[in-house]
């Protein structure tokens, strides 16, 4: 039998393959690691894996939600364990093959140097990756898991157990009348909102940046500072102040500004279309400073020679903008523009704080300005439909991720060099 096969088989018990290859220290590390893995995680794996399969069998002893969380942790730990196990097998096999080929396995010093030199990025990135798993991956897995359960008011711990129900909740979205009809209404407005609000804030930001960047303009610093101010005030304060300004009967916009121009009061908060317009304008106001700042930075980095050459060729200002400035901005800004779109798609704050998703619309469960996230929030808070909310969140994420990916692929910014 060849060394590699023998080493592979021996390392079914981690470490023994390395011992066979006479790599004592490494073998010991694997062995101790494995032993401590099982000692430390024994309870977690035991309870978690049992819990995630059954979600509890007895009330009040079992709390399905905690079991689910424990189970997901157990799965994460198991996957990490299996990964180390895989490294162990691979290492034994590789060194066995080296011996088959008549070479000597690496000495301890070589191994250390290998680890430090080649593995350096991994060593440095390791801790943050570890935190990432628990701070990002774990909650995502948890909410995905919830979508496949029947967690709602009537199935909530500690009184009741939760069960896995597969795709039932997803089926419900498209079969239960009050959700189905509302879902597409809300989706339509969400898309319109995302496109209009993001486009407005991006184009406003770029436009102002280009204007302020003109050479002959004086007081540039002052103007820039003023233009960044909307960004400096916390968003929720701005939104609440705007909500007051837009008030139909007492707001300054109707009473002072529009009245000054002799325009009749506009039902900003009680008519859906006017509310939508108000929201888009507010988001433009809130969102443009960031784009403005970034664009200003990009403009500084466009080589002056390009403009000089263009001037010699007799290009107009607009031709220069269209053929030099704009393309340069787009290349540098594409990722930022995409994040503006995804941000607005899930821009809960502005919708919720401005008018609570209102005004009410006859015949739907959502208000006139509710976007998907704020609608999901209402559903969960009002009737404790946790699994439904989780399922909708998944659909929403798929939508956003798909669009973002498509955009990323179309722009050059993310191509690896």
């Amino acid at each position: 039998m060849q060394h590699r096969t023998r080493a592979l088989i021996l390392s079914i018990i981690p470490g023994f393959g390395q011992f066979y290859n006479k790599q004592w220290v490494k073998g010991l590390v694997y062995l101790v690691l494995t032993a401590s893995f099982f000692i430390v995680f024994k309870d977690l794996l035991n309870m978690g894996l049992w819990g995630i399969v059954t979600l509890g069998t007895e009330v009040p002893r079992d709390n399905s939600i905690f079991l689910l969380a424990e189970g997901i942790l157990a799965v994460i730990v198991t996957v990490m364990g299996l990964f180390i196990y895989y490294l162990n097998l691979k290492d034994a096999y590789k060194n066995g093959r080296l011996r088959d080929e008549g070479k000597l396995p690496n000495t301890l010093r070589d191994q250390y140097r290998n680890l430090v030199e080649q593995g350096y990025p991994y060593v440095v990135a390791g801790p943050s990756l570890f935190i990432l798993i628990f701070a990002v991956v774990f909650p995502i897995l948890f909410s995905i898991a919830l979508a496949f359960t029947n967690y709602d008011l009537y199935h909530s711990p500690p009184a009741k157990l939760i069960d896995w129900v597969g795709l039932d909740t997803f089926a419900n979205i498209f079969t239960v009348d009050i959700w189905r009809s509302t879902f597409f209404d809300v989706l339509a407005w969400t898309v319109v909102w995302t496109l209009c609000a993001s486009t407005l804030q991006v184009s406003l930001g770029i436009f102002l940046a280009v204007v302020v960047n003109q050479k002959d303009l004086r007081f540039k610093k002052f103007i820039r500072t003023v233009l960044v101010l909307p960004w400096a005030v916390p968003g929720f304060v701005t939104i609440l102040v705007f909500a007051g300004l837009f008030n139909d009967s007492f707001g300054a916009i109707n009473n002072d500004i529009l009245a000054f121009f002799g325009i009749d009061p506009v039902p900003w908060l009680t008519d859906a279309n006017w509310s939508r317009l108000a929201l888009i304008m507010m988001q433009g106001w809130l969102g443009f400073p960031f784009v403005f700042l970034v664009t200003t930075g990009v403009l500084q980095s466009i080589p002056e020679e390009l403009y000089e050459a263009a001037t010699i060729d007799g290009a107009s200002i607009f031709a220069k903008f269209k053929n030099i400035t704009f393309p340069m901005i787009l290349i540098a800004m594409a990722p930022i523009i995409i994040t503006q779109f995804t941000f607005n798609f899930n821009n809960f704050n502005i919708i919720y704080l401005f008018n609570g998703g209102g005004p009410a619309m006859p015949g739907t469960t959502a208000g006139g300005t509710d976007i998907l996230v704020s609608w999901i929030y209402k559903l969960t808070m009002q009737s404790s439909q946790y699994s439904l909310a989780a399922a909708l969140t998944i659909l929403l994420s798929i939508f956003v991720i798909a669009i973002a990916l498509w955009q990323f692929r179309k722009t050059n910014s993310f191509k690896e060099e």
């Binding site: 049992w50 009040p60 002893r61 009537y154 711990p157 239960v176 909500a243 005004p359 208000g367 009737s383």
Partner: protein, 429 residues
């Protein structure tokens, strides 16, 4: 290389099977008791944890001290926002840091019982009979008692004495309608109310015979019997719409921000009267308004406007490790003597029936108004199905207020939506 992958696959599968075989609940119960022992050690510094409403703990300080002395125990009182307590209990309870005794809104008792957050109290007739019937009903689900009432509140009418004198105060809603017409000039207003919310609008709707849920002979709510679109409710909605259509209620008090606008209009002395609750007694006084408080006016058909009675209660958490002692504390805190002390210190009207005639209560105008209004009031339904009512009902009333829909179609639509929502929520029951 293909081979190695296959072998690896088999190994990982084996590893998984090994891991799963070892799993089971047996060890769990042993573990749980171990944990319990540990927790009790940690909590040695007190025997009971009480969550009290913010700025209300002075009301029970003496009673708690007495209870500690009598029973030789240590009770810790922590203040926590009243509406937040049940939310926090959901996580703190199982986490072991939850309270033994806490306070919550009576209309959420049904939901909390379904979730299993409350411990049933084993109290007899002798304890429950001292409270008003409505208040006690809010604590009862399927004949079982889950808490004892601490305070009641209803909406009432606040009027600005500088604008309307006590003598010429209209006693009917129509009277207010006429007065409002006189006073309203775009800047100043007569009576204002948030009739675009079912919590307030129900006062009118139910006066004309509308109701949210019908009740069977035992007083249990029937979730399938919705009376929000019956003739009475539609008549009531017509009355409500009148105020908005005539611009007596400005459209600025409709919707999410309406409550702030209404409060500031009254605080600035621009509204002659508003319908609001006891929570505004302090703020309006601070605003320097010389106001009076009376029960709600009568409707055109001679009925009194009703109001939702909100009951605040003391309840025992299902997670309490010391439930018997906790129950004892609840009974003690809610007894007549301590209710009176608490009222004197916190000004929250108690639910003890005998105290309604007590000079301490009758002396106060506000307490008197609440007590009087309570007679014409109804309980906020405490069944979980009520959660499905608020949003659609508010939405319908809002469209009525803005004139986007006629009362009948709006209310029909609301009932349709509520039914659908209840059905959807119950589909997995």
């Amino acid at each position: 290389m293909k081979n190695i992958k296959k072998i690896l696959g088999i190994f990982s599968l084996l590893a998984l099977v090994f891991a799963l075989v070892a799993c089971g609940p047996q060890e769990d119960s042993g573990q749980a008791t171990g944990d319990e022992g540990k927790k009790e050690d940690n909590n040695k510094e007190y025997d009971l944890l009480v969550w009290e409403d913010v700025e209300k703990s002075e009301g029970i300080a003496d009673a708690v001290a007495k209870f500690e002395e009598e029973n030789d125990v240590k009770v810790k009182v922590v203040e926590k926002a009243y509406a937040q307590q049940i939310e926090d209990l959901r996580l703190d309870g199982p986490g072991g840091t939850g309270p033994d005794v806490f306070t919550m809104p009576g209309d959420q008792i049904g939901t909390a019982v379904v979730e299993g957050l409350l411990k049933e109290l084993n109290v007899g007739e002798d304890v429950t009979s001292i409270y008003t019937e409505a208040a006690m009903n809010s604590q009862t689900v399927d004949g079982k008692v889950y808490g004892l009432p601490k305070a009641v509140e209803t909406t009432m009418l606040f009027y600005n004495k500088d604008i309307v004198s006590e003598d010429e105060l209209p006693t009917t809603l129509d009277g207010w309608y006429d007065l409002s017409k006189e006073l309203t000039d775009g800047e100043n207003f007569g009576l204002l109310a948030l009739f675009d919310q079912i919590y307030y609008a129900n006062s009118v709707l139910s006066g004309y015979g509308g109701y949210i849920f019908g009740q069977d002979e035992n007083g249990n709510y029937i979730p399938t019997d919705l009376g929000l679109n019956n003739e009475g409710a539609i008549e009531g909605a017509n009355q409500i719409q009148k105020f908005y259509a005539e611009k007596l209620f400005p459209s600025g008090i409709i919707g999410e921000q309406g409550i702030q606008v209404l409060d500031s209009l009254f605080s600035e002395g621009k509204a002659a009267a508003v319908i609001s609750g006891p929570w505004n007694l302090g703020p309006y006084e601070e605003a320097g308004i010389d106001y009076g408080v009376v029960k709600l006016p009568e409707l055109a058909n001679g009925e009194n406007m009703s109001a939702f009675v909100g009951v605040k209660s003391y309840n025992v958490s299902a997670y309490s490790k010391n439930a018997e002692l906790a129950e004892k504390l609840v009974v003690f805190l809610a007894n007549e003597e301590n209710s009176k002390t608490r009222y004197e210190l916190t000004k929250e009207v108690p639910a003890v029936a005998a105290l309604a005639d007590d000079p301490a209560v009758t002396e106060s105008e506000a307490a008197q108004a609440v007590a009087e209004q309570s007679q014409f009031s109804e309980l906020m339904p405490n069944i979980p199905e009520m959660n499905s009512v608020w949003d659609p009902a508010d939405a319908a009333l809002q469209t009525i207020a803005t004139g986007k829909a006629e009362p009948k179609e709006a209310l029909d639509q609301a009932v349709e939506t509520i039914k659908g929502s209840i059905e959807a929520a119950n589909s997995s029951k």
